[in-house]
């Protein structure tokens, strides 16, 4: 049986991917932060599933999870590690605290790197075994930085960079590292955004920030089904000759080709107008 470790399985892409992989005959270790989430998943998937409870900001929890998986594998190699879990820190970058920046990167960048290190031996396997693969789920925000998603976009862009160096440094061990880049996904990060709204009242960014939240809530029903990303993750894990990255935009032309093709200064103006970030908005206050 092929075994996969995947992080962030309590909701969204992670939750969908657990089912997707179980349906295709995998045994899945799903990482969650609370016992409650673990129990819910246990009840939903009585077979081919085992939860791992730890927080990505704690190294000890990560190390303990490796021991648990190793015991379960009992000499079999680990087929894949999927770094999917992410947090979203949102707000105007001019007022972002260092604490918030740290938290964003601890979860989205340092955590996944730490997992790559911790699961390295299990992925490498023993002499004669086929080494496993790593799949890092990043985001199109890493390519197209939207206002008020500064910390999130930067943490994902950093992970994109690490994806290259990981792939190059793990190459001699036969461990391939593949990136999956989702665009907007239904029931995705929007659910995690809601609490950031009023924190920046009283700053010059109060109105643009509120506008941003409103449009995010309006857009919550739009986007890809999480299963589309699960499919890309499955391909990355199983394809005989995988690409180095799979980009899955929600709208191929409008959401990906156009913004990465147009001059950046032009996009600045479009976004500035949309999000009330042009200097004239400040003057008119």
């Amino acid at each position: 049986m092929r075994h996969i470790v995947i992080t962030g399985t309590s909701s969204g892409i992670g939750f969908a991917t657990v089912k997707y992989l179980i349906d295709r005959g995998f045994f899945v270790f799903g990482c969650v932060r609370t016992e409650k989430d673990a129990n819910e998943l246990r009840n939903a998937y009585p077979e081919q599933f085992s939860p791992l409870v730890f927080d990505l900001v704690e190294e000890e929890g990560i190390r303990n999870s490796v021991k648990e998986v190793e015991k379960h594998l009992d000499g079999q190699p680990l087929f894949g590690l999927v770094n999917n879990a992410a947090a979203v820190v949102s707000g105007p970058i001019a007022h972002m605290s260092k604490e918030d920046m740290f938290y964003q990167f601890e979860v989205n960048t340092f955590g996944p790197l730490n997992l790559c290190q911790a699961y390295f031996s299990l992925l490498r396997g023993k002499e004669g075994q086929q080494p496993g693969r790593i799949v890092n789920v990043t985001s199109l925000s890493g390519e197209i930085a939207m206002p008020f998603l500064g910390p999130y976009s930067a943490s994902k862009r950093a992970l994109m960079s690490m994806n290259h160096t990981l792939r190059r440094e793990f190459y001699p061990y036969g461990i391939d590292v593949i990136e999956v880049v989702p665009g907007r996904v239904k029931t995705g990060i929007i659910e995690k955004l809601s609490d950031a709204g009023s924190k920046y009242d009283g700053t010059d960014f109060e109105e643009p920030m509120r506008k941003r939240m409103e449009s995010a809530m309006e857009m919550r029903e739009f986007g890809l089904e999480p299963e589309v990303i699960s499919g890309a993750i499955h391909t990355a894990l199983t394809s005989r000759k995988p690409k180095y990255r799979y980009v899955k935009p929600d709208l191929y032309f409008k959401g990906y080709r156009l913004p990465t093709m147009l001059p950046a200064r032009m996009i600045d103006r479009v976004l500035g107008k949309q999000m009330r970030l042009l200097p004239s908005f400040l003057r008119s206050k």
Binding site: K98, S153, A158, M162, T165, E169, P172, D268, L277, P279
Partner: protein, 290 residues
């Protein structure tokens, strides 16, 4: 009088740029971490530099420096530019780097750079007679082409790439422009600093490969690099230009270190790099057998 702030002026690009801007008639606020460096820089560069004593990771010290700079600026004067130059490079194979290495690398190059920008933005707003200031981030070509053993450094520069985009878009409100410059290899003493680190990985599989990478840098990359003065000129021209590009690369060996790696299919580039840096499975096996 035009004022700018340059972080990390004790040596390297920061020092040379401070000197260059002074020659062009600027008054420079230059950040240094040590009192001794503050005095040295002052005695070498004269009255046109005001050393600011702060480490980019120390928010309280940055706040004090802002007050100092504010007192020095005349009424109706602002900061014409902020050059976010200070940075560190923690090299090594990812497998053997610690979470604290990650934290340190990002705290200086990303969170620290952001703290400085946040703190000095109020001084860059336009005044009655002066245009709004510009932020220039000194990045690296490794943001586009991340090389083995520079993973954390490259990742911080990529994170800053994204943050520069966000800053540029959000600071439009204040008409403060943000420019991200990918600087290629520079002829300086960085390599002698990093060569010591190879010994730390003597007992790992990566040792021979790290040595190969360093030798390649010493023999090929560094001698063909830019001079610090050339970089300083680019920074100055970018600040003075009416319509600067939001992002660009400055590079000497443009074809080999920029064009080629950016145009080759990634999987092919991986193979070329692996061969050059002895990072193939057969290299590791051969080294083990030795």
């Amino acid at each position: 009088m035009k004022h700018i702030l340059i972080t990390g002026v004790s040596s390297g690009i920061g020092y040379t740029s401070a000197k260059y801007f002074i020659e062009k008639g600027f008054h420079v606020f230059g950040s240094v971490r040590k009192e001794a460096d503050a005095q040295r820089v002052k005695s070498e560069l004269g009255d046109s530099i005001t050393p600011l004593l702060f480490d980019v990771v120390d928010e309280a010290a940055i706040a004090k420096a802002v007050e100092m700079a504010k007192a020095k600026l005349g009424p109706d004067e602002n900061l014409a530019g902020l050059i976010a130059n200070a940075g560190i490079h923690i090299p090594g194979p990812i497998l053997h780097l610690s979470r604290d290495d990650m934290r340190n690398q990002f705290e200086v190059n990303v969170f620290g750079a952001l703290s400085v920008i946040q703190a000095f933005v109020p001084l860059m707003r336009k005044t009655e007679s002066q245009k709004p200031g510009r932020v220039i981030h000194v990045s690296s070509t490794s943001a586009a082409i991340p090389l083995p053993y520079s993973s954390l450094y490259a990742a911080t520069k990529s994170a800053m790439h994204s943050l520069c985009d966000t800053l540029r878009r959000e600071l439009m409100l204040y008409e403060i422009d943000v420019i991200d410059i990918y600087v290629g290899p520079v002829k300086n003493d960085m390599v002698s600093k990093v060569s010591i680190y190879a010994e730390r990985y003597k007992d790992t599989d990566y040792y021979h490969s790290i040595t190969a990478r360093l030798e390649n840098a010493l023999k090929n990359t560094i001698p063909k690099g830019l001079t610090e003065r050339e970089v300083a000129k680019v920074l100055h021209d970018t600040l003075e230009k009416a319509k600067p590009k939001h992002r660009f690369a400055v590079n000497k060996d443009w074809f080999n270190t920029w064009f080629l790696p950016n145009i080759l299919p990634i999987r092919l580039l991986d193979k070329i790099l692996a061969k050059k840096l002895q990072l193939r499975p057969e290299d590791f096996a051969a080294n083990k057998a030795k």
